[in-house]
């Protein structure tokens, strides 16, 4: 039995270089930056940020060319697929990565820590995410997950001498590793049951193969989903999020709350749509519980928060609940594609809104120095543009038309409304109530910034840098565009995972 393994002659698998181009360019830029950092040390300090930005934009080019010719490319017999779904999600990762770079240029430069490694880590993590969206194989998903998580641990602990950042880093590391260990155990069981690591094969095996123990599969699916539930900070697994968000440097928090959460969702989508395609009896109730719990839990706790970043953490948990909701009814006939496009639209709009909100928080906290909500009072008097845009993002998160958020919530509601079963309607009602509770803390922050007096009302204007303003501008334009002309994102998100998987 062992001999049979050795006889396999190793022949080099045919690689379609165009398909892998984005990952390669990212890798190249990452290595370039680390090399420059080592060689030029101090002199390279001002260039690394712009170089990283350019690098990310460079990787966008192959994605556009891949999208042009519209052919789905399959490598390593199905393990690595570059289709519309993958391209759209890669685009989301790259754009949000670019915005995070813009956010962190001044933050890191003014911080008293060594600057260049930050961008190396960032690009590595981006690389992991870009890989994640194309991997249809347990191994590549695991590797991509670890590639994007480990640099993230380091970035969270970036401020070496600050106890909070330290604590956040450690917490994130321990929880991250523990969760991936649990996920690995699930994956191993999955492999054990189906005998292959290819998602498509697993799903075909699960549907028609004579399955020995159903409970083993359920356990496997739950553990795997739990691993990713941790990543997207869904309710029972979200406990790490508030502490890490508060402790980490704010651009990293933005990165975590948007990019790594999106990566988690992409993995979850691939697993459920391609892997457990017809196991809806298992994953639907699971996701339903996760969605309902995170919505309610996230919103209720956010009501009492005094620190704006912790509040954004809990709001992130609540938004995760909203994004999960369509997944809870994705099993119904005919709804798969609609649910998928709803989730992707929500992810894209959520990325824009959240990054915009974090951009404003970063700019204002340069003046107020603290992330306490009181310190933001009366911002309207000294920074009207910032306050208006913050109100913009907050009400978009709350889902008020004509800002982007309403269309995202509208899609979610229409999926739930057309699910035509009791669980779907129940989730819709919970969602409706939650959107009202959510509005309370969003509106009270906006109101504070508009109406109340600034603390010992010093009205010195905020020193805004060009990169922060451009990041803010990108997010604001994208949010408004999604709100007024939603069919832009609608058309792009109209992809399907079923052709390959099912």
């Amino acid at each position: 039995m062992t001999t049979q393994l050795l006889t396999l002659a190793f022949e080099r698998p045919a690689i379609d270089w165009h398909a892998v181009a984005p990952e390669l360019t990212l890798l190249a830029v990452g290595c370039l930056i680390t090399l420059i950092d080592i060689i030029f040390l101090e002199k390279a300090r001002p260039y690394t940020a712009t170089l990283a930005g350019l690098g990310v934009l460079a990787t966008a080019i192959p994605i556009i060319t891949l999208a042009m010719d519209g052919v789905d490319r399959v490598l390593f017999d199905g393990a690595y697929v570059v289709d519309d779904f993958a391209l759209f999600t890669k685009a989301i990762f790259l754009i949000s990565g670019y915005v995070v770079i813009l956010l962190s240029t001044n933050y890191v430069a003014e911080g008293d820590y060594w600057e260049n490694e930050y961008y190396g880590l960032l690009l590595a993590s981006l690389m992991g995410m870009v890989m994640m969206s194309s991997s249809r194989d347990l191994i590549s998903i695991f590797v991509a997950l670890e590639l994007l998580s480990i640099p993230a641990y380091l970035m969270v602990a970036w401020r070496k001498r600050d106890a909070r950042s330290n604590e956040a880093g450690l917490k994130y590391y321990l929880m991250g590793v523990f969760a991936s260990a649990v996920m690995l155990y699930g994956m191993s069981l999955l492999f054990g049951v189906s005998g292959s690591t290819q998602l498509s094969e697993i799903s075909s095996f699960l549907t028609n193969g004579s399955v020995s123990s159903v409970s083993a599969i359920t356990l496997a699916i739950v553990f795997v989903v739990a691993g990713f539930a941790f990543k997207v900070s869904a309710a029972p697994f979200h406990t790490w999020a508030p502490d890490v968000y508060e402790g980490a440097p704010t651009p990293v928090t933005a990165f975590l709350s948007v990019a790594s959460k999106a990566a988690g969702f992409v993995a979850l989508l691939q697993l459920i749509y391609v892997g457990f395609h017809n196991q809806s009896a298992v994953y639907e109730p699971l996701i339903w519980i996760l969605a309902a719990a995170s919505m309610t839990f996230g919103n209720l706790v956010a009501l009492k928060q005094t620190n704006i970043v912790r509040m954004m953490a809990y709001s992130g948990v609540a938004q995760t609940g909203f994004i999960l909701a369509p997944l809870a009814v994705a099993g119904h006939a005919g709804l798969e594609d609609q649910a998928l496009s709803a989730i992707l639209t929500y992810l894209a709009i959520y990325a824009a809104m959240n990054l915009g909100a974090f951009a404003v928080i970063i700019t204002l906290s340069r003046k107020t120095g603290s992330a306490e909500i009181e310190s933001f009072n009366g911002a309207f008097r000294y920074a009207p543009a910032m306050t208006v845009s913050m109100a913009f993002f907050l009400f978009s998160l709350a889902g008020i038309p004509p800002l982007g958020g309403w269309f995202a919530k509208f899609e979610v509601f229409s999926v739930l409304a057309s699910s035509d079963d009791v669980w779907g309607y129940a989730l819709a009602v919970i969602a409706a109530i939650n959107s009202v509770i959510a509005l309370y803390y969003y509106a009270s922050v906006a109101r504070r910034m508009w109406a109340d007096e600034a603390p010992e009302n010093d009205l010195t204007p905020v020193s805004t840098t060009s990169s922060l303003v451009s990041a803010l501008a990108i997010c604001a334009i994208v949010t408004l565009a999604f709100g007024v002309v939603p069919q832009i994102v609608g058309r792009f998100a109209d992809v399907t995972l079923l052709t390959l998987g099912g």
Partner: protein, 99 residues
């Protein structure tokens, strides 16, 4: 030898590892118990690969080992950082942020 024996061993190791993570106060020991869990996963993978004679199990195990090494490296660095700032690595005391 039957597959179940291997599975039972890995389940036992997994349980011990989880206990180690939850109960231990010392950071380094928590890292060791995480390694324990990962090894449990490896045993699982290898045993399944052997019994169903599909090579990808072993490949998966190799990857897990490699990644585990990377993780431990970063983990130890974190704990070192913690030690430098606090002079102790008792996990129960690092609760600056809560609520």
């Amino acid at each position: 030898m039957y597959l179940n024996q291997f599975l039972l061993l890995s389940a036992a190791l997994f349980a011990i590892g989880v206990y180690g993570v939850l109960a231990r106060r010392n950071g380094v020991l928590v890292l060791m118990s995480i390694e324990l869990i990962l090894n449990a996963v490896n045993i699982n993978l290898v045993s399944f690969a052997a019994f169903q004679d599909s090579i990808s199990g072993e490949v998966f195990a190799l990857f897990v080992i490699a990644v585990a090494a990377a993780e431990v490296g970063v983990g130890l660095a974190m704990i070192l950082l913690l030690y430098r700032n606090r002079r102790n690595i008792d996990l129960t005391e690092i609760d600056l942020m809560k609520g």
